[in-house]
Every structure is written in C-alpha cells, then in structure tokens.
Symmetry: C2
Amino acid sequence: MSPAFEKFKAYLDKLNHYSRVINLLSWDMYTTTPKLGFDGMAATDTYFSTEYFALYTSDEFYELVKTLNEPEEYEQLTPGYQFTVRKYKKNLEKDRKIPKDFYERFTAARNESQRAWTEAKNAADFSIFAPHLEKMIEYTKQQLAYTDPGKDVYDTLLGLYEEGMDSTTIDKVFEELKEGLLPLTRKILSAPQPDSSIFKGYYDPDAQKKVEKLLLSYMGFSFDAGVTAESEHPFTDGFSRYDVRVTNHFYEDNPFSSMFSAIHEGGHAIFEQNVDPALTGTAADDCCYMGVHESQSRFYENILGRNRNFWIPIYNKVQELLPELKRFSLDEFIRECNHIQASFIRTEADEVTYCMHILIRYEIEQAIFRDHVPASELPALWNQKYQEYLGITPANDAEGILQDMHWSDGSFGYFPTYLLGSIYDGMFLEALEKDLGSVDDILAAGEIRKITRWLNENIHWYGSLRLPKEVIEKVCQKELSAKPLLNYFEDKYSKIYQL
Amino acid sequence: MSPAFEKFKAYLDKLNHYSRVINLLSWDMYTTTPKLGFDGMAATDTYFSTEYFALYTSDEFYELVKTLNEPEEYEQLTPGYQFTVRKYKKNLEKDRKIPKDFYERFTAARNESQRAWTEAKNAADFSIFAPHLEKMIEYTKQQLAYTDPGKDVYDTLLGLYEEGMDSTTIDKVFEELKEGLLPLTRKILSAPQPDSSIFKGYYDPDAQKKVEKLLLSYMGFSFDAGVTAESEHPFTDGFSRYDVRVTNHFYEDNPFSSMFSAIHEGGHAIFEQNVDPALTGTAADDCCYMGVHESQSRFYENILGRNRNFWIPIYNKVQELLPELKRFSLDEFIRECNHIQASFIRTEADEVTYCMHILIRYEIEQAIFRDHVPASELPALWNQKYQEYLGITPANDAEGILQDMHWSDGSFGYFPTYLLGSIYDGMFLEALEKDLGSVDDILAAGEIRKITRWLNENIHWYGSLRLPKEVIEKVCQKELSAKPLLNYFEDKYSKIYQL
C-alpha cells in the first residue's frame, strides 16, 4: 500500500460510513419511520448529506484522487480501485464546477418541486406542477452548462444513467423496436382477451408475504445477505453484497402485484449479492448503469417469471401458502400473467405495452430538450401520444403525465433505461440459450438456479467494471439490437393469442 | 438566545444527529440486518460512536457547557436546557478524567467479555466466562477510581442507573419486601396450582402480531409516533417522543409471551411518547432513571395487564384475532396469567417470584463489590440463593448465573432498578386509586385511557426533570416503601390462591 493510497483508502472508508448512514436513514424513512418521526429523520439525513457532499468535494479528497490517477500509483491499484479513482476524478472535475449557491438553490427547488408534484397528483391538476417542472428543466440545463459545457444536453443526461448510450444509439434500437412492436401490439389488443374478473377476491397479505419469501429463495436470493420489508412502492436497497434489501407492497385484492414485484426486486438484489467480493467498498461494488441493472430485474420478472415453466415446479407450493389461488389452474393463472392490455399506468403495465409507455416518455423528453416544448404544452402531447400508441386517452393528469415522480426531481433521461433493460434481455436470452439450452426446459425442470448462476458469472460478478456496451459485447458478442426482444415477443404472444 | 447558547445549541444538534444514527444503526442490527451484513453495520457503528465520544468530550463542548452553567447564562435557560447543561457538566467532569487508553482497553475488554459470555452460555460452562467477568469487575472498579475517587463503588454504580438511590435506601425497602414476600411466596407455591398444559398448541405468529397491535392501541400507544418490529428479545427504542419503537418475539407455542411483552414495552413507549414536547432535543426528553422507566412498563404489564378487568372489554376481540384462544374462558386465561411458579429464568418469571430473582442478583452484586467474592465462587453462591429463596437449583450455569447478559458488559447495579420499579408501582397504584377510584372499575369499564392520562400527567410529562425520589414525593406524597407492593400482592394472591 503506497502512502497516498493509504490516505485515500482511509478517506474513502469515511465516505462509505457516511453513505451507509444516509442510505440507512432513507431505508428507514421508506420502510419504518412513523408519520410524526419523519421530520427528525429528515433533518439528520440533511445534516449527513451536506457533510458528505462537503467531504466528497473537498480539496483534500480531490488531491488524493488526482494523485492516484498518476500512472505510477494507478498501475498498482486493483481493478476496483482503478475504477473508483477514475470515476471520482471524472465526476469531481464536473461537480466542482457547480457553484455552491447554485447547488443549494437547485436542491431547494427540487424539494419544492417534489412537494408540488405530490399535491398536483393528488388534485389531478397539472397546473400546480407546471411552473416547478419548468424550473427543473431550466436548472437541469444550467447544471449541465457548468459540468458539460457545449455538449448536447439530452445526450449528457442519458449518459448519467447509462454511460456510453447516447441518443443516436438509443434512437436506432427504439425505432427498430417500435416498427415491429406497434403492429404486434395492435394485433394483440384486437384479439380475444381472457376474463380477469375471475381473480376478484381477498388475498391474505400475510400469506402473500410467505409467497414472496418462497419466490425469492427459489430464484436464488440469499436471506443470509438480504431481508424483505414493506413500503409504499417496491424497491431494492443495497448496503453491500452482504446486505441487500427488497421491499414490496401487498394488495388484498390482487395476488399478482406482490408476486411480480418480488421477482422483479429479487432480480435487482441477486445482481448486487453476486458482485465479486474483491470489489466491496469500491465504487464498482454495485452496478451504476441503470439499464443493465434493470435488465436483470426485468429478466427475472418477464423472461423467467411470465414463462409458464417457471411456475410448474412451484405452483402447488404457492397455492399451499396462498390457498385463495386453489380456485385457479396453472393455465388460468399464467394466462392472466400474460394478459396484454392498453392501460394508463406504466408500473402496472404488462411486458409488451410497457415498451410503449417508455417510448412515449423518451419522445417527450426529446421534445423538452431538443424542441424546447414548454411545460404547459406537455399534457396535450402526452395524451396525444397515448392515443396514438395505445389507443387510449387518460381521463385526467393523475393517470396521465403526473403518474411518475421522475421529472419532479429532475431525473430526465432515466426512463429510457427501463426499455434498454428489456432490449438487453432479448439479447441475454439468446446468449443464455446458446450456452445452456432451452430456458423452457431448465425452468420446467426446476433448475432456475442454473440460470441464476449463468447471470452471476456473466453479468453480476463485474459490478460496474464493464460499461453497458462492453457487457453486451462480452455476453452476446453482437451489436446492440432490438430484434431478439421482438422475436421473443412475437414467438410468445403469437402462441398465447393465436395470432 | 445568547451567543453562547446559540453555539451550544448548534453543537448539541450535531451531537443529536450523531446519536440518532448510532441509535438507528443499533435498531437496524437488532431488528433487520441480515447475518452477513452485520459486520458492515458494526464497523459504521464503531466509527460514529468513536466520533461521537470525541465530539462529546472535546474541550470545545466542555467550555460551552461550563459557560452555560454560569448563573447569568443558566438563569436564561428553559428547564430542559438547564437540566442538560447541569447533567453534561457533571458527567463531563467525570468522563474527562478517564484516560483515553484506559477507555479503549475497557471497550475492547467489554467486547471480548460479551463474546465469551455468549460462548459460555451456549456451552453452559461458566469457566469460559469467569476470567472475563473478573476483568469486568476490575475495570469497573478502576473506572470509578478515576471518576468517583474515594466513594463507595457499589453505591456509585447504583447511582448510574437510578440517581439518588443508594444502597442504604435500597437495603431498607428490599428488606421490607423480603420479610413479607418470602412467607407469602412459600404459601403460594405450596397451594394447589392451575394446569398450564391445557394451553399447549399452535398460536399463529401473524395472528399474535395483530393482537399486539390491538393491545398497544388499547393502552394508548400512538402509531403515528411509533412502530412495532421483531427481534430476538423485546425492547423499546425511542428517537424522540415522535418516534418510539417497540419490538417483540412471537413463539408459536406460547400465546402469553408476546402479549405481555407488548404490554410491557408499550408501557415504556407510552412514557416516551408523552414527555413534554418543550423538552424535545434536550437531555431530559426521555427518562434516564431506569427504575422509574421500568415502573411504567411493569405497571402496565403487571398491575394492569394481569388484572382480570383489563381483559373484560377486549378478550372477545383478542379471541377473534387469535382464534386458538377460543378454547379458553376468560377465567382460564387470566388464571394462567397469574400462575405463580418457582422457575429459573428471570425474564419469564411471574410478578411475585420475579422479585426473588432480583433480590438474589442484588445480594450477589453486593458480595462482589463489598465482600470481594471472586468470580469463580459466584456460581455456587447463585445456586445456593436460588435454593434458599425459591427452593430450586439450576441444572447448569446456562439456566443459572449465565442467563443474563448484564454483567458481561459491566452493567453492575442495573438489576435492582427492575425491583425498584415494582416497588414504585405499589405506591403509584395507591396514589392513582386515591385520585381516580378503583382501578378494577376503570378497567372493567374499558376506560384504561383514563389511567394512561393520569400517568402521562403525573409522571411521563416530566421526562428526566424529576429525580426518582422527587417523582415518588410529588406523586405519592410519601416516603419510599415496599408496603404498598406487599399489600397488592397479598390482596391479589390471597384471593387467587384462596390462602
């Protein structure tokens, strides 16, 4: 250990302690904190977040990071620390260009904007949120003018969430997908549909919790290195590969929601639990590319979880734990899991129409940053696109443009990563079947852990070390393409809907 | 706000942020952290605990505290801040006398001792723990030689947990109790006993959780300012009056344990939820006297919870939530709640023999610090006293001297506060009935909230502002005495056991 690395390591450990408690405070606020305790937790969160930012952007740390990027130091580092000092240097060069007072104003405006969004959504009234959205757009542009002057704003935003994926690349695959998917979706939507109403009934939330645990264990989630909890919206929160937490929400009248959320979040969690332990404590110890991360949750949720064979070995056990399901045959159950419907809410959409929800958002984000469409005109644009792609128009803004919180805190450019994840999945499925043979057969034999192991070894192990394009290249030995996903949809739904 | 107070307040807020995250880390480790995540959480806990101690004992803070103790500053402070600066001055004067290297050695030895205790308990082999216990005794004496030179060690220890209660006072009331209670206990134990075996069966843990929530609400626990969780041993953890958390443990074969733990911890929690809001953020905002705190948990658990009338308004609801109880009449149920038995494990003892468990520990602590009995001789002393007071001898050290963890981390002098709590309860019961009339009638009428309100107004509201002796004086207008508790036991159990 060189003296410079020793100093850097001590500083990094300290930063890691700070981010751990910031993470823990947020975990607690989402899962546990009672109503009246929220202000106290939030004040402590603000305190440590501010301290963290000061430590992270300090001259002292920046100097250490620069020193470790010098060749004679850099070459001695392990890949995890090389990644860390490279990433921090790049980020700090940018972040240190943001004036402190601007940062504070942006933070304050973001908090106000989130509050206004909540109010607007509850009132189903976009006009409450519009001025804040306008501000978020302006502040975002301003921030990028500091950090990435002269670069295309929307491309830079996309790179924040999925490094190396610019709009040229994304346009190409999204167009490819849209061309094939629009006609397929229209065919599906006009075909005869199953009767969802047979699933009306009461599904004991305590029993659903037991099913969640069964599903997670079955997939390969480690309860030695993870826990489950409840929250308003399901999410995954990792402290390290040794402590990865998933949450869920249990609806009394819906047995599917918590099952597919469990499988989805389980996919995120299995990723984080299986990163190379040598990366622990470095910036590469989880996956910072949202598309790649999402590809894993969606692979489990859709490619595996919505496959009839996934359920063959466990459907009896699920029925034992949740006896209300005994009324339904496996065929009825799985038919409902693959029920394709035009609907308004992205997070509740099936795997096919989900793509449309993202395409719409991607096009609107481009309208914002490329065509400078003002906030006030966005609801009309939103509704027009829903009519065009899904043939439906939201009754109000709450089930329209106000449904997602992403834009309220300035997370522009995030949405496309969801669809990128699905597009990667099509390619991963091809690669996996080339290596292991038919997924149908593996699942039917109850050998899902074989698939998990393949994902562990080919994707999870590397944490953030490989950029998204490198992941695709290494795993699939192919250029990124939406074709495999399209083929998967066409094969699957032609059979199901007898097209 | 004087400039000195302003500085002090900013420093105190910072300390409060630190203690909040230390508390949260510990809460998470007890309730949530998965097995493999424990080391990560513990490392962060150590980091912030060390930082906290450095901030708390810094010259800067000590100077601020001293300044605010000057009359011209002190008189301007609210009672909560007066208490805070007084307490901190006293504690800092002592704590700053502890050499840093001694403190570190003690901390390391304490960790080793706790580990050795766990190992010894699992192996039921006291010899593994004996050298560590010897060390804990030595370090404790050494620490008090720094902080309280020339004072009686055991009296000083007692004062750490129940300020103002020295062994002269405690000896007097414990003797008073023992004299009456020993013959009563012997009479009870030789009377005919109910048949506990009828309660054998399976009691759904999920249903028990629902009963817990019912009991807590019924007593007056606020779920807006509190939550429930699970842990190996039940405990209460308060972040402020706005966020007080209780845990429980649910045994499939025992419906009583979780119910009485819920009522017990609920008593602690209702205390903390009802401290004067003006004290929030000061050192007086919870109760730092363990005996007074325990008096409230034990008042709910024993005086109220083991009273037949407590259950009259809710037994039907409890049976609805936990249908396995429908087999038992209220009389059978309550009879088992008041089943007095000689048993080995303190935490599972009934309210009468519980007192004996504490008397034994109190006498052994005196043997350690006054008669200098070496650790190696303590198991024999322990077993001899169990034979003398309860007529039973533990089969091994795990159900004997190794059962409690208190001595493993040097918490000598803590045990007596449990019994002080019960003795206070006898007196509080008298005072409460003088004010409100018969507790039986209030409970039978389903008006337990009246009792809660009386406790809120007379005890909880003051947090730590009143010393234990002042609490007794203000609430009971009497000297401390064990007579009321004895009277309560005699009345109640003469009827139940038809003595």
